[in-house]
């Protein structure tokens, strides 16, 4: 799956979790760029992304992903 395809699947997940249809994700997007990205929504986001892509993340992987671009790279590394 290309990065573009991952962003296309990822954006609706962010929109659902943060209840905001206008979210535009870029590789540089971080938690401070999206209203409502608190600890509870972070949990919902991780669980929703795992379900959407059929992958599972570890705690260490989450700790190393500092922006959406790194998150997308992580997702891509887990897909066949």
């Amino acid at each position: 799956m290309t990065s573009e395809a991952i962003y296309a699947k990822l954006t609706p997940v962010f929109s659902e979790v943060f209840d905001h249809d206008g979210i535009v994700l870029t590789p540089e997007t971080t938690a401070k760029d999206i209203a409502g990205w608190d600890s509870v929504n972070h949990i919902r986001l991780i669980v929703s992304i795992e379900a959407e892509f059929g992958v599972r993340f570890t705690v260490q992987e989450m700790a190393t992903a500092s922006n959406v671009g790194e998150f997308v790279d992580l997702i891509r590394s887990k897909l066949p």
Binding site: I43, R44, E50, A51
Partner: protein, 139 residues
């Protein structure tokens, strides 16, 4: 079960199940009406419910959610549960006194979020009364 189960996060795996039989009686309906202030006649007046085509008073949907709370807080995962979210659809009415069953299965275990997802189904007399999904963190 009077004490909550104490499953740790490591105890949890996809495919685990829990469930129990129940029936909502008049005392529970009255207690919920007093607690919530919802005295809608569909739930409180037998004649009104029958006149609207039901075989008796319709159980409050929130009382089915209360059973979900019992399952999460007491059984799966139990003591260390922190309930994050719930989606629930009410597919058919449950009538006061009708036997019913709540079943849950663990469909997702997220190590990164230290959370699990439960698929929920309430059935009665062979039909689905409600279905839903709950996300629960494990403390």
């Amino acid at each position: 079960m009077s004490q909550a189960a104490a499953l740790t996060f490591a105890d949890l795996s996809e495919g685990m199940t829990a469930g129990f039989d129940f029936a909502i009686d008049d005392a529970e309906m009255r207690a919920f009406a007093a607690l919530s202030g919802d005295r809608n006649p569909l739930h409180c007046e037998e004649s009104f419910a029958r006149a609207r085509g039901f075989s008796g008073r319709v159980v409050y949907g929130a009382l089915l959610v209360a059973k979900v709370s019992r399952l999460i807080g007491m059984e799966l995962p139990g003591r260390d549960a922190l309930w994050n979210s719930l989606q629930m659809q009410f597919a058919a009415p449950l009538i006061v006194g009708e036997p019913a069953r709540l079943d849950a299965s663990l469909t997702q275990v997220s190590e990164a979020a230290r959370s699990v997802v439960l698929a929920l189904t309430v059935t009665s007399g062979g039909k689905t009364v409600a279905r839903g999904k709950a996300m629960v963190s494990v403390l």
